[in-house]
């Protein structure tokens, strides 16, 4: 599922609420069979709820003091309590999957933006959460590096993973999404298949938005 809309419309905030990095002022959030009611939520519940989803950030936010492999293995060991050796093995497999074999021992500063974001995606993949959240995963990248990241996200979509992506890449949204949501001023204006929203939008505001960016 993709979320599109003009900047400042609350797309990222909405996504961050799902991961509870932003505290929703009211309402309920449900992921799978886990429900969190914002009015009566306990801190421990928040931590538990967060583990239902994983997040990819616009600015990658890789752990700067850890290597690429450690970035992926870290949460497996610390959060999932998987034995160190096994975790490293699993992280190694993911490094291969994201096409960064041989970069295991590189630190984030030694990787290009595209590579860093792929590690970021790998870190989220490793957790095998119910849903992966992408917060403008390619907005901070140089144009020539956007492709490799989108390619990886696409391959994840093809595996049938549940993902919610906030993006400005309309072509990409059309190709990979089952559903597209259009947000403006903090509310959902329209929701539908990529065709309904992106190809033949009925809403004038969406039309204007698409006209402006293409």
């Amino acid at each position: 599922m993709s979320i599109i809309g003009p900047s400042g419309s609350g797309k990222s905030t909405f996504l961050r609420c799902l991961n509870y990095l932003e505290e929703p002022t009211r309402g309920r959030v449900t992921i799978g069979d886990t429900v969190v009611d914002t009015s009566s939520v306990h801190r421990k519940e928040v931590v538990k709820f967060r583990r239902k989803s994983s997040m990819i950030f616009q600015s990658y936010n890789l752990f700067k003091n850890k290597t690429a492999l450690e970035n992926i293995a870290e949460a497996l060991i610390v959060v999932r309590k998987i034995d160190g050796k096994q975790a490293v093995e699993r992280a190694g497999k993911i490094m291969k999957k994201i096409g960064l074999e041989g970069k295991e021992d590189s630190y984030p500063t030694q990787l290009s933006g595209g590579q860093q974001q792929r590690v970021g995606i790998g870190r989220a993949m490793a957790l095998e959460t119910d849903v992966i959240l992408f917060d403008e995963p390619t907005s901070a990248l140089d144009p020539e590096l956007v492709g490799e990241v989108l390619e990886l996200i696409k391959s994840l979509a093809e595996e049938g993973r549940s993902m919610i992506i906030v993006t400005h890449e309309m072509k990409f949204a059309r190709e990979v999404s089952d559903r597209v949501v259009f947000m403006e001023d903090g509310i959902i204006l329209a929701e539908g298949t990529p065709e309904e929203i992106l190809v033949s939008p009925k809403n004038k505001r969406i039309e204007a938005f698409l006209g402006k960016i293409s």
Binding site: N19, V47, R50, S54, N61, K64, K66, V79, P108, Q110
Partner: protein
């Protein structure tokens, strides 16, 4: 010129015997100060209510008054009013004074270092399911240490040298011994020069430690491999353009 090298060489063995006291004093104080500073920095970083205000006053007081005054307050002043302090040794008072004083500086250094770690690092940690404590321990603090090290070593150097003030409490460290020798031999220049060398050498060792720590902690931030490669490409670009002698700024 009346300069007797022998006055210096005579003083050497005497100071060698006393240098242990200086080291013990500095080391204990540095350790105690660091522990105190971390606690204070965390209180200030997380703005823990009630304690936040107290630590603010603490830092302000211990940075705002001279170390010598603090030492006198502790050793000569407090025992007059509070009987608990009557049995405090000169060493105890010196360690207490030094660590209280310098913990105020170190706390501010550490607080600044914690604040320097990008908020995105914390968010990333939380997003993969870590608890706040895990994020602090595994992500934020290790990154903050790197930022804090140069400044912490700096404060430690200051502390080592400030331990010389302990002679005013009658503690037999190298400054006290020097004073004694100088007063009896009237060889002031030679004596103070000798003790200067002692301090300088100890500080030089600390500088080495700092360099080692910075190198170790900075490993994750070296761009060597990538840098070298891109430099080659850029230089080739200029060469192909026929511009010779173009040098990249270091």
């Amino acid at each position: 010129m009346d300069f007797k090298v022998q006055a210096m060489t005579d003083l050497f063995p005497i100071l060698f015997k006393a240098v242990g006291m200086t080291l013990k004093l500095s080391f204990s104080s540095a350790l105690a100060a660091l522990v105190l500073a971390v606690a204070i920095a965390l209180i200030r970083h997380f703005k823990i209510k009630f304690l936040y205000g107290i630590t603010g006053i603490y830092i302000s007081f211990f940075r705002g008054t001279p170390l010598l005054v603090q030492l006198f307050l502790l050793y000569y002043g407090l025992p007059q009013v509070f009987p608990v302090f009557i049995n405090i040794t000169a060493f105890g008072a010196a360690v207490l004074g030094l660590s209280l004083h310098f913990s105020a500086y170190m706390a501010e250094t550490i607080r600044g270092a914690l604040a320097s770690v990008d908020k995105g690092q914390t968010e990333a940690g939380l997003s993969v399911g870590m608890t706040n404590l895990q994020v602090m321990k595994r992500i934020v603090i290790p990154q903050a240490i790197r930022v804090a090290v140069p400044s912490l070593v700096n404060t430690s150097i200051d502390m080592l040298k400030s331990s010389s003030l302990a002679f005013t409490l009658g503690l037999a460290e190298i400054m006290a011994k020097t004073q004694l020798e100088a007063a009896s031999s009237y060889r002031f220049l030679e004596s103070y020069l000798t003790v200067s060398i002692f301090y300088w050498v100890m500080v030089a060792v600390l500088e080495r430690v700092q360099r080692y720590l910075e190198k170790r902690l900075g490993r994750a931030y070296e761009q060597r491999s990538r840098d070298v490669k891109s430099r080659g490409i850029i230089q080739r670009f200029w060469r192909d353009k026929g511009i010779k002698g173009y040098k990249l700024p270091a």
